[in-house]
Subunit: 475 residues, 2 copies
């Protein structure tokens, strides 16, 4: 099969020298994750220009028994997009050159795009046709559609529009043996056998390389209303969420909760951020409605529900944005969380989700569990409350962190304690970030043997040589 | 393994005599489909009362090498719920006795139910908590949740809420070797490996037996508005659909199109049905908006869009229902289609879907293709236009049908011609009915070899002995 020629030479012959990077300098941006936590060697980086080239690369790697690492914008939060630290160095197949918007079908509310399209450019192409592609997240200026599909990316639009999985109609995938599967259907209904696309969405590149996708589009909202609320408690926040859902249905597009510790960190460490409310309150919610039609109606609806909530004693205070600039200012407070936390100290970020109804109990019990390990340790809460997704962040000042004897062991014990509480409430240790490299131990610990065996059976059926993204996702 | 004891005896020992039916009289309602088109023998019918019993049945069948046929309400339109006509007679595992609503979690907008729950009872349990379970279809009074999951049932709520697949959060499944997979998560976000539930949704019982599910609930709409429209043409209907989507977003809950032939059949053959509009028009659309809030606002919005459509010359005429009784009367016309067609003659029903934008071209080209085979043959059109799902029905009077020389061959040739047009436009031969027994030849003909190989790999990984629902879904 390999005729004595090296894989590097074969790839260079097949794609041309400019599409294969292999000097150490050229590899640097591809073999290390953006936060600088993981770095491992690769054989080379291949930059295919089309699906056929991806297929050729995969066939050559298969023939040489060399691992393959699909890579998009390299924005993973869990080391999912850089090489593993064991085994043969892989060929990184970076999709950046495949960035054509192949087609926008406005009447069908769909668009076909190549995997290397940056998320923001997909949003723009949809908006140009009066449509919304609703996946939106911090990395949208650099992450690629293929990566968002491989990780089933979440973000701030999930409450109303679902995860990436819910916004993909069809896929084109190069399978682990190099075969191209053309599953680029744009249909809303198709009951002809197993829905194969779901095998690849969220598979973190372990089942093949997504090369293109048909995405679902939505009407572009034209009206927005945003308010900042101070609910009595997490339970009161949930009750208010219920009022909004009953009265607004799918107009409710965000319901984000933070606690006063988190707000204080933002106020103290991010210049220009102001407390949206006068006075101190223990809990804070940013609520957003969006709709077709005009702002005024939506604003009235928002006011009405807030009055209801006040009347029920659920609310300490609230501030409603009265124009676009005020709406943006409220969102800015919420979006400053990461920046503030980075400056303030060391946060042991978790990515738990529990049933929405269980969030108050989760916060109570996880706080107790953490305090049992480190008495008095502050916790920051950042929750996509409408999705039950709580970033529960035990937080150390730099001094406290540096004074710890065994930081790794302390961090691991704290995270395990938090994830244990989530698991006991029917929750998960990874709501939106994925497993990647950093949560393999959690997969082993929390997943049932039945479920792991099912996943391994799927993997074995499609990648029996275990060449795709080894050391990731499946322990 | 089997110790010489017959499977029937072993099942009777395990479940008790009252849970195993095997006399011919007892089997009658289980071995024949409700339309009387398919009937084949079964070894027996097992009526498990809980998941553990399902597991025992499957283990025993596995040990005896006997096929297993999961069965719900037996309402399949394509022979999917009765035994195949070849191979060993299966044990039918009928889930009717497993009909507990295990839990409704209103704050999480979810409910956990057993597979044998009748769809209507699930809708009622959700409504009792002020929530909507949005899957709604003709058979809802007798079909079971397990069957709707196995077939990814569609129906009239798809435009707004998606198919069954989109409304399932978690599953409990007895796998082909009898292992129970507890995947009953109620989470909105969970990125921890392959999303295994999608392997079973729409798998038509070939991958195991769904025994319970966690379903997604929605706010219960409180406002409704319905109108009957006469658009210029299918393209005009699409343009009007676009106006509604832009102006109403997800308030648009139905957009159903029929042609004048279909309306005439209903008028002529179903007593009490009246043409909603004065005068004759070639095309008809029923549009429904629904929302939280009150009827009046929604009615105004509907009127506004109709005026817009009129101004653009897209609309011949329109009638807006002004109260609940009038809304029901308009829906009654639409729901009388099956009854009318059954009385009027022989319709060769198809279940095609194409991208929404391609519907006008599909109707034109499919009509030409059919007329090329049978000059002048009338066609009835019943389309879930918002989903691109067209039931394109070449129609014979009873006399014309009886005068045909080879009815089977004519029907097959006509269906193939219609499905060919759909396929050429990126469409499918089964949008919502599934494959079952009746569309195996279409699977073989239209699916790519790559896709069939992928499906067979999945099947092989989970059911290597090929005992689950053999002769169905996969050719």
């Amino acid at each position: 099969m390999t005729n004595g020629i090296t894989l590097l030479d074969a790839l260079t012959q097949a794609l041309g020298a400019d599409a294969i990077l292999h000097s150490e300098a050229d590899l640097a941006g591809y073999t290390e994750d953006w936060r600088g936590r993981y770095k491992s060697p690769a054989l080379c980086v291949a930059l295919p220009g089309d699906t056929q080239q991806v297929s050729e690369i995969v066939r050559l790697c298969h023939a040489h028994g060399t691992p393959v690492l699909p890579q998009g914008g390299n924005t993973s939060l869990c080391g999912g997009a850089v090489p593993a630290d064991a085994g043969r160095p892989p060929v990184i197949v970076n999709l950046s050159r495949m960035r054509r918007i192949r087609r926008v079908d406005a009447a069908n509310n769909s668009m076909e795009v190549e995997a290397g399209c940056v998320l923001a450019s997909v949003q723009e192409a949809a908006a140009a046709e009066g449509r919304l592609y609703p996946i939106s997240l911090g990395a949208e200026g650099s992450c690629q559609i293929g990566g968002t599909i491989a990780t089933n990316a979440g973000g701030t639009g999930v409450l109303r529009y679902g995860n990436t999985r819910d916004n993909v109609l069809g896929l084109e995938v190069v399978l682990p043996d190099g075969t191209v599967w053309n599953g680029l259907t744009a249909l809303r209904k198709n009951n002809t056998g197993y829905d194969l696309k779901h095998l690849f969405i969220g598979a973190e590149g372990t089942m093949g390389i997504v090369t293109a996708a048909v995405l679902k589009l939505h009407p572009l909202p034209t009206a927005h209303a945003v308010a900042w609320l101070a609910p009595e408690s997490p339970q009161a926040a949930l009750d208010i969420l219920g009022l909004f859902q009953r009265a607004c249905g799918s107009r409710l597009s965000a319901f984000e909760m933070i606690d006063s510790n988190q707000l204080d960190v933002v106020m103290t460490h991010v210049p220009g951020r102001k407390n949206p409310l006068a006075g101190a309150h223990p809990w804070h919610v940013l609520v957003e409605l969006s709709d077709t039609g005009g702002d005024a109606e939506l604003q009235d609806l928002l006011q009405e529900i807030l009055e209801q909530a006040s009347g029920l004693g659920l609310l300490h205070d609230a501030a409603v944005a009265s124009n676009g600039a005020q709406r943006a200012a409220l969102w800015e407070v919420r979006h400053s969380v990461s920046e503030g936390n980075k400056k303030a100290g060391v946060g042991l970020t978790t990515d738990t989700a529990v049933p929405v109804s269980a969030v108050p109990r989760f916060i109570d019990e996880a706080t107790q569990a953490v305090r049992g390990l480190v008495p008095g340790l502050p916790v920051l809460i950042v929750a996509h409350l409408g999705d039950g997704n709580v970033h529960f962040i035990p937080f150390f000042t730099f001094d406290a962190w540096n004074a710890l004897r065994d930081r790794d062991a302390t961090a691991a014990a704290i995270r395990r304690a938090v994830n244990d509480v989530a698991a006991a409430l029917g929750g998960t240790f990874s709501a939106e970030h994925g497993v990647g490299r950093s949560s393999l131990a959690e997969m082993e610990h929390y997943k049932s043997p039945v479920e792991l065996a099912m996943m391994r059976a799927v993997k074995q059926a499609f990648d029996p040589a275990h060449l795709f993204n080894p050391g990731r996702l499946l322990p």
